[in-house]
């Protein structure tokens, strides 16, 4: 298995999340969170899994989880 990273999977509205659950798991994505209100799934997997997930009907896109940093308590506001 390749390097595991955290991924943000944006669903399209054609299929409900419940239908996709098994297919995401079969594709190799370990789902950490299902954000039902906004149609997003957060999960872990390698690049190969991401490729399979992207091909699923009902998946609008997959992107790497990106960091946010507003700076520490003593730094002047950075955002």
């Amino acid at each position: 298995m390749g390097e595991q990273q955290r991924w943000v999977v944006t669903l399209s509205s054609d299929r409900p999340l419940a239908d996709l659950r098994q297919e995401l798991a079969d594709a190799g994505l370990a789902v950490d969170e299902e954000l039902e209100e906004i149609g997003v799934v957060i999960g872990r997997g390698d690049e190969a899994a991401v490729g399979r997930v992207r091909a699923l009907r009902g998946v609008a896109g997959v992107a790497r989880d990106t960091p946010i940093d507003i700076g520490g308590p003593d730094s002047p506001s950075t955002w």
């Binding site: 955290r6 943000v8 944006t10 669903l11 950490d32 969170e33 954000l35 039902e36 209100e37 906004i38 149609g39 997003v40 957060i42 609008a60 896109g61 992107a63 989880d65 990106t66 960091p67 946010i68 940093d69 507003i70 700076g71 520490g72 308590p73 730094s75 002047p76 506001s77 950075t78 955002w79």
Partner: protein, 440 residues
């Protein structure tokens, strides 16, 4: 009500439309704010007469060809300034003083520094100042003392002129941001509106929030208690109290927002990720928060997940507002750059765009320079700058607007915020439609 008799000393030429009744006190206050006049003078003048010299005072006013109204001509001497219409002056015989309009005062060559002769009926001539109500908690003296300091500074008496914003804060009893957004003039409080602030959490022990209802959740494996300060500051601006204790100016807009939804999506070190923010957005939408405020972001292109979250929010009657970022002229970051999320840039006290603010995809601007608000105890308060500080001004104003009508949700609330901005003479890339304004 029948118009009262108004006496005039002669028939000379008159300036039209400048009588005392032409402008109400709110008009005068707004006019002063709009031209950046921080002197607290209304533009009118008060003449105080020597004991028993009121009749001579009246004669003096008439000799200047001023149309003069007399409180005695009104039933029970109950007169409102607006009732005197065209009159240039209004005499209060019981207290031996007269109010004179600015236009009349200046056109007759009068001045506060006028040498008053010993045979003149006038004791003093001074500018009229605005007066502000204070809460019935003994804070009356705060406003009075601070107003005296401001007036003394004006006349060069105190020797040292304080930092302008501090004087404003003391005299108006509110931060500059609440003044220019007109939040302090609003009749609304955010009552019945849910506001979510997704940030570093909040100081749950802060005395200024005693008695407020919080709903909290953490998405970063640390307790919601804010050990950073950023989240507490933003929540202070969006939802802080109407009358902070002691000599503290009011710094919060939606003072009756309840519950205040606090989503910790950034750690106490200020870090997070798209996933933690999305989880917070999901939670806020699931809890039907009409306003969701995000003073955070990353310098990345539009992220599809944020756009989806923003669309879901709008579909469900929620509005997500986010800070454009402090890239000093660089492009708006994510999530603010999503088309379904309202992007907020920052302006300085003089209402020009803050130099640190990002530009480009900006929906509107709000106060972001030297913003005074809450900080975790024991510090209690702090002054910070950033589009992070501008964003909760929009969130607070949005809560006030949402309170005015149940139909102002989601896209309708977005549209109302943009339609009600104060236009500013800068490109839309820097300030969007203009400066956010609170509901009246």
């Amino acid at each position: 009500m029948a118009r009262p008799p108004i006496s005039s000393g002669g028939t000379g030429a008159r300036r039209g439309g400048e009588g005392l009744g032409a402008s109400g006190i709110d008009d005068l206050l707004l006019s002063a704010m709009e031209r950046g006049d921080e002197s607290l003078q209304t533009g009118r003048y008060i003449m105080t007469y020597k004991p028993d010299a009121v009749e001579q005072g009246l004669e003096h006013l008439r000799s200047l060809n001023l149309r003069t109204a007399d409180a005695r001509d009104f039933e029970d001497q109950a007169v409102e300034v607006k009732d005197v219409g065209d009159a240039d002056a209004l005499v209060f015989p019981e207290i031996g003083a007269a109010l004179v309009s600015g236009a009349a005062f200046e056109s007759r060559g009068l001045s506060v520094a006028e040498d008053i002769g010993s045979d003149s009926p006038i004791e003093t001539i001074e500018p009229e100042y605005f007066a502000f109500a204070d809460d019935l908690t003994g804070d009356y003296l705060r406003g009075f003392q601070s107003a005296v300091e401001a007036i003394a500074a004006d006349f060069g008496g105190s020797g040292k002129r304080e930092e302008q914003s501090e004087v404003d804060a003391q005299v108006f009893g509110a931060t500059w941001g609440l003044i220019v957004t007109k939040a302090i003039l609003s009749s609304r409080s955010g009552a019945g509106i849910r506001v979510a602030v997704l940030d570093t959490g909040v100081d749950l022990t802060h005395p200024d929030f005693a008695g407020r209802t919080f709903a909290t959740a953490t998405f970063v494996s640390q307790p919601v208690q804010d050990l950073h300060g950023h989240g507490t500051h933003c929540i202070g601006t969006a939802c802080g109290p109407n009358a902070p204790p002691g000599f503290t100016p009011r710094y919060g807009i939606g003072y009756q927002v309840a519950p205040i939804f606090v989503g910790k999506v950034l750690t106490n070190a200020g870090s997070g990720s798209t996933a933690s923010v999305l989880a917070g957005m999901n939670w806020a939408i699931a809890n039907k928060c009409a306003v969701i405020s995000l003073s955070l972001g990353a310098n990345t292109p539009v992220q599809a997940a944020y756009t989806a979250a923003g669309q879901a929010a709008l579909n469900k009657g929620c509005l997500i507002v986010a800070a454009a970022g402090n890239s000093s002229g660089g492009p708006t970051g994510a999530p603010a750059n999503s088309p379904t999320i309202m992007s907020v840039s920052s302006v300085d006290k003089n209402l020009s765009p803050s130099s640190f603010s990002s530009v480009g995809k900006v929906e509107l601007a709000a106060p972001g320079r030297d913003v005074f608000s809450a900080a975790p105890m024991p510090k209690r308060y702090a002054t910070m700058s950033g589009t992070s500080m501008a964003t909760p001004h929009v969130a607070g104003c949005a809560a006030l607007w949402a309170q005015t009508s149940a139909s102002l949700r989601g896209q309708a609330l977005w549209n109302k915020l943009l339609a009600s901005t104060l236009p500013l003479p800068f490109p839309p890339a820097r300030i969007g439609k203009g400066l956010v304004q609170a509901a009246p």
